[in-house]
């Protein structure tokens, strides 16, 4: 057969018709959804993908979304790009020392597990798996949430790693006292009281909920909250006040830390009210839309505190360099919440362990590469900030 224009065009058409682009459109299995396995987890963000794939949409939304328009959620991550590390030579990796102590709790690395609620939704073993995982990761201290799926004594007893307790205040002083006593009896080495998240609203998650209608609630009109105020603002947590803090302060015999602090003024007030530590947090972008990132307020709070009490920080930490930046700006310890949830949801206790081991390894690498072999050698000269 002679080559003809007609045949050439046929061929071209057939080529186009069978092209990769076309095949992708019609092959329902060609959706690039192979899940990486446990051994492929190389950085924290790898866990999110697996977590997203393995867990129901509502649980993913609850874990990953933030308050309001999520400006604050985005800013938490953005703020790390405003801090540059300025290396000074390099240090031998075998010389790196990361062990520290915070309010009497010894830890191998200045990294702790932040309190997050309801681990039973993420894994069938719930907080037990979390505690086993943190313990396996060089005894990483685990701050157990007041909103855990399991009772604090069970969680504390299931592994040997140190545990702290996070408290959501109850309007009744007696009820709060009971919670605090139970936590301390279970062996919690310190208590962090959550002061923020007074009136949060997960707009984005609420939005996705109606778009992927839950058959159980389909067709029911949205509930209007009954509130004391005429502005329909849920008032379950609006009552928080300093007088209440003073009233419950004597019930905490272990170190007592204020969580959710974002201003120098409040850090000062916390010290005046006898708190033993400042825990800078915007609840992982889940408290107040258009609030500041924690990293950008860290310098203001460090100068207000003037070393009188230790400073903890969370919200948006995903790597060893993120942690190093906060240490350089004056934080004593960094805590991670979402990352641990991703690890737990994706791979159970082994995932939690892996998350912390990755962060620990990355911190060691970052310290070596910036020539800071000890925590004491990490100071402001390590960073150049471009906060706006």
């Amino acid at each position: 057969m002679d080559p003809s224009r007609r045949r050439a065009l046929w061929g071209l058409g057939a080529l186009a018709g069978s092209s990769l682009l076309r095949a992708q459109q019609f092959d329902p299995f060609h959706d690039h959804s192979r899940l990486p396995g446990f051994d492929e987890m190389a950085s924290i963000m790898d866990f999110e993908e697996v977590f997203h794939a393995k867990l129901p949409r509502q649980i993913y939304d609850f874990t990953d979304h933030g308050e309001g328009s999520e400006f604050n959620l985005r800013r938490n991550r953005e703020a790390f790009s405003w801090v540059d590390l300025v290396p000074r030579g390099a240090a031998d990796i075998s010389s790196i020392q990361t062990a520290t102590e915070l309010l009497g709790t010894k830890m191998a690395f200045p990294i702790m597990a932040a309190p997050t609620s309801g681990h039973g939704l993420l894994h069938k073993e719930g907080e037990l798996a979390t505690h086993v995982g943190t313990t396996a990761a060089s005894n990483t201290p685990y701050i157990v949430s007041n909103a855990s799926s399991l009772p604090i004594d069970k969680i504390a007893a299931c592994a040997t790693g140190p545990v702290w307790f996070q408290l959501y205040p109850r309007p009744s002083v007696d009820a709060t006292r009971e919670i605090l006593e139970k936590a301390q009896a279970a062996g919690c080495a310190a208590v962090a009281i959550t002061m923020d998240q007074q009136a949060s609203y997960y707009e984005r998650a609420a939005h996705l909920r109606h778009l992927t209608e839950d058959p159980r609630t389909a067709g029911t009109p949205p509930r209007r909250p009954t509130t004391k105020n005429p502005y329909r603002v849920p008032d379950g947590r609006l009552w928080y006040n300093w007088k209440f803090l003073d009233e419950i302060r004597p019930f905490v015999k272990v170190p007592f830390v204020a969580k959710g602090i974002l201003t120098a003024e409040d850090a000062e007030l916390c010290i005046e009210h006898g708190m033993n530590g400042i825990y800078i947090s915007n609840h992982g972008g889940r408290s107040l839309d258009y609030g500041p990132s924690t990293l950008e307020v860290l310098p203001e709070i460090v100068s207000a505190v003037r070393g009188r009490v230790p400073i903890m920080i969370d919200s948006g930490f995903r790597s060893g360099t993120d942690i190093l930046k906060a240490l350089a700006l004056g934080a004593n310890v960094v805590t991670v919440g979402r990352a641990a949830r991703w690890g737990l949801g994706a791979f159970g206790d082994a995932g939690v362990q892996k998350v912390f081991e990755i962060l620990q390894g990355e911190l060691v690498m970052a310290m070596a590469q910036t020539g800071r072999p000890t925590l004491a050698s990490i100071d402001r000269t390590l960073v150049r900030t471009r906060f706006r």
Binding site: R5, R6, L9, W10, L12, G13, A16, L21, R22, Q24, Q25, G68, S69, F71, R75, M195, D196, Q198, A199, S200, Y201, E203, R204, A206, H207, L208, H210, L211, P221, P222, K228, N229, P230, Y231, R232, V233, D235, R237, L238, W239, Y240, N241, W242, F244, L245, A258, G260, I261, L262, T263, E265, D266, L269, S287, L288, D289, Y290, G291, P292, R388
Partner: protein, 366 residues
């Protein structure tokens, strides 16, 4: 005989349609606002909307494109440059959003601003708007270019009304309209300076923008207009401390910082919120300072209050809600904003509007 003849034209047409149907063009962003996950063209049930910004794509789906274009968008860049400074352990359980304006207590520091010809958005126009404002306990500023007469609007109203006029044309006619509005119950008169566009469905002409930019403030005219009005007079469209000061010296009882929804783009590149602090400083409490300009969120309103505004006027959002959902939509939108302001106050530890001050926010460099 030609059966199934393959021609070059047919083949090329086939290849063209293949390319058009490929996934690449489908991924290009649409220029219109989108509601994540919502089917194209569908109007989401009102109860499912989660914020004010979501009303805009709904209005876009409902309105003729020219009408939608007249109320599309907004400039929110300056809001993104302000963060809040939340304070803890301050009880806000007795949340109080009320503010006092001209001796009258307002439920919340939010007003429906003056917008013309609302029948272009809904057959009930201003009547639906005023019923919604009444239900949401919100003051409404009635435009002198309303689709319905002020008498009809006032009859449908159970809330405080203000009236708005443009200081141009026949003075006597304007005064007569203003007096008629006051007779109908309007409690304040808002004089809009330098408005470049008078038609809700038309874009401003370059000539009218240039004219507005160059027009000197005619105090004699405004003075005459105020004669015998008998209610507080506000000037809307102030964008500098000097103008604000001059306005007060000329006996004006209130100021609205406004650049007419960004329509004076070349003349007033600054956002209203950006100039607010300097104006609030110059005014230093002598008269109330109000503001408009792309307010869409409770945090936006909180920021304006922190920077010295007494209350915020809404322009486009109530029109979006009116177009997509009528009266119920406007009420829902106003209530959403009230709740959002309340949430923000709760999160920042500010139980009253008075307790919100400049230490409640931080302005960041661009």
């Amino acid at each position: 005989m030609k059966i199934n003849l393959i021609t070059r034209r047919k083949t090329l047409a086939g290849m063209g349609s293949l390319a058009a149907a490929a996934s690449l063009p489908a991924q290009q962003p649409t220029p219109l606002p989108k509601l994540i996950g919502e089917r194209p063209g569908r109007i989401t049930p009102l109860g499912d909307l989660v914020n004010v910004l979501e009303f805009e794509p709904m209005a876009e789906r409902k309105l003729a494109s020219a009408t939608y274009a007249s109320v599309a968008g907004g400039d929110r860049t300056f809001f993104e440059r302000i963060t809040l400074r939340p304070r803890m352990m301050v009880s806000t359980v007795d949340l109080d959003l009320t503010v006092e304006l001209f001796g009258e207590k307002m439920f919340a520091p939010i007003l429906v601003g003056p917008t013309a010809g609302q029948q272009a958005f809904h057959p009930d126009g201003e009547l639906a708007m005023v019923r919604a404002a009444s239900a949401a306990k919100t003051v409404m500023v009635v435009s002198s270019e309303s689709s319905y007469s002020i008498d009809k609007i006032a009859a449908a109203s159970k809330t405080t009304l203000w009236y708005q006029v443009y200081p141009e044309g026949d003075l006597n006619a304007i005064q007569a309209r203003a007096k008629q509005a006051i007779q109908a119950g309007c409690k304040a008169l808002c004089i809009t300076l330098g408005a470049p566009f008078r038609n809700a469905t038309g874009a401003p002409s370059p000539a009218s923008v240039a004219g507005a930019k160059n027009a000197p403030l005619n105090w004699a005219y405004i003075d005459k207009l105020r004669q015998g009005i008998g209610v507080p007079v506000l000037l809307k469209g102030i964008m500098s401390a000097e103008e604000a000061d001059a306005a007060i010296k000329n006996g004006v009882q209130g100021i609205v910082v406004s650049n007419h929804g960004g329509l004076l783009t070349s003349a007033a590149a600054a956002s209203t919120l950006e100039v607010l602090p300097s104006i609030a400083d110059a005014v230093s409490g002598r008269v109330p300072v109000l503001i408009d300009g792309s307010f869409r969120r409770g945090t936006d309103i909180f920021k304006a209050l922190a920077l010295g505004a007494r209350a915020v006027l809404l322009g486009r959002p109530p029109l979006w809600a009116l177009a997509a959902y009528g009266q119920d939509g406007v009420q829902n939108l106003l209530e959403k904003l009230q709740t959002e302001v309340g949430r923000t106050m709760g999160g920042c530890g500010k139980p009253t509007i008075k307790s919100i001050d400049r230490t409640s926010v931080k302005i960041h460099d661009a």
